[in-house]
Symmetry: D3
């Protein structure tokens, strides 16, 4: 049980209902998950969060599946069950195979292990890594396809 | 300064030197970073860590760049500076553009935000997500190309 | 189910019972939550934790509700369900409105996003922030009202 | 050193320059920190992040200082040095005293301790906390002053 | 419910079955937990994880119980319920008393509190700690008994 | 540079000086680290933190070195550089060898990896682990030697 009520469509303010309509139109489904139904108490928070997610997840220099895999990986690292479930489902809908999920979680696990080894021993950064930053590639218009 | 000495090649035990030789042969470079030089005090730890990373990062159902992007993302979420630097450099070497790095960090940030919103309000998982698990696709041999 | 038994009042050692009596007297309620009932196996741990919480949450330079909001925010960031529930309830008892809870979680989410952006790109601290530390204001006796 | 170049004003694209102008106008200062100068490579990310922070930090049901204190607390829990420094400075500019900073960090520490105790022993949530959720207070228009 | 199917023995590929046989032989029990049954979809991941855990947990410079206590402590800090439960059970099987569990969680809690205090105030490392690193004790063969 | 001034002995209030005297007497050294010198602005916070650490780290059911190893492990998992350095030094002073440090960080790394695997796939807890809790062993007086 959440600490705010999960709102039904009938409970929505007009401002929240407008966001739900955009979620449905964008995703081409009637389903709107509990995450959005909890945020809907605060239409400003709901609208900003939805529009931000929509913008961030739009294919750009990275394709839609790659972005979703990264989303799942971060949710695993942060330990958010709701997000692991909803974004694993989203990644599957975008084509993630079971084998890809298992390789994904293997990378998440291995990165977490070496993160702790490097931090745990306070390994100093090599000069080589400090020198490796390229010149800025400029503006977003430089983005090529992934 | 690390809490163990960063070992020069001359300091290595034969067992550690053998792992360094494999790192160099696999990566086709003389450079071996401080991470491995810190672990080299314990050749068993060094060998296992290197062989695990090598296995996990081998292209399979996910390609090499996608795995590296996930590694960077998890290192960002876990807050490991050494790993962010070394794997950002590795991702660049595998073709990550600056625009891709910026989209990557944007996904990491957005996932972290919604992770906290979902956890913070204790949003219950939708039935729809619990039903969405496909039948197992079987063994690793099922892995197609990414 | 916890990994230690949740103790009933009848199970308490005299030392633990004395702490429960102080919890009840301080909070003016018979209710003592499972957190304290789990710690009660170790009266020294129970007593220290209760007295520390009591001291930290006493109004001082920050008022009681502000302290409770910070407690909830940290529990959200750390992902502790028990603590989110118990301290969200405590904050409500101290006057937190639903609108305040939604603004609180919005700040927690936004901070987590920008934390990851700054850490993920390893943004260097501006000189301006390093210079901004005021002279020490001295001892606790300097504390004015919030 | 960051993994993207920190941009000078002269390096900015027109879209990024427009965001910087709004930061300066809103905050009534010429100073724009490295965080924004790193994001400026991606004007879409820069604009969304700035507008989100501006919206979230606007006084509403919670006042400006309380929001800033929560921001600092979350940054401490997430271990982001840049954010701790920049938001501690911001909180001071909004009136946070040294005594308040010390009480803030004391709450962050105590919450982190009890978070671990509750999670570490897997303490089950009391029924009382599950029952304590009030009816939704409705829309954002219900927000009174903090 | 996991996001991959928990496999019964009858579902295992030959490669996964071979790992299960080694788990049973090593631990001298028929019981194989859900963790391994979830990983069994990917026999390469299963084999590497099992062999790594087996190697790491073998008594060496630290005895078996001390390693298990550290495993539990890290699982508490990382907030992994499955791991807290399975490794608390493993620690008990290796002789951990209830009093030891309570002292363990007390250290985890206290360390988490002081971690936040030190990070939250950005306390600089004392010179004395930087100077305290001994010369390397050499190779793994130096390991004496715990 | 910390966000509060690191206090010299000459800056201390009488209440803070009394705590420093107890630190010196208990540890039998004139050295008092920056952590305590930062907290010393708030003698109530300083006193409570010191007395809590002293109580928690006193040998009981777990010996002093085991407690220190757990402290280091948690500090590694939480990513606190100050605490990793100060408690690695403390563990060495209590007899931790370099080989033990390397086995310690190996367990921290492995636990973090399997924590992410179990959380990432949302592995359900086995019934066997839920049944494994023994009856409470009673009060602190039951504590035997480690």
């Amino acid at each position: 049980m959440s600490t705010v009520k999960i709102l039904d469509d009938a409970d929505l303010s007009p401002a929240a209902a407008a966001v739900f309509a955009d979620i449905r139109a964008t995703r081409k489904t009637e389903f709107v998950g509990n995450f959005w139904r909890g945020l809907a108490h605060d239409p400003v928070l709901l609208k900003r969060t939805w529009e931000s997610v929509k913008e961030v997840m739009t294919p750009g220099a990275l394709d839609a599946l790659t972005k979703e895999l990264i989303y799942v990986a971060v949710s695993m690292a942060n330990g958010c069950e709701y997000c692991i479930r909803s974004h694993t489902a989203a990644a599957r809908a975008k084509g993630m195979s079971q084998a890809q999920l298992l390789e994904l979680v293997a990378v998440v696990g291995m990165a977490s292990e070496t993160n702790r080894l490097a931090t745990g021993l306070l390994i100093p950064v090599d000069e080589a890594f400090l020198e490796s930053r390229p010149e800025p590639a400029g503006d977003r218009t430089d983005r090529g396809p992934a």
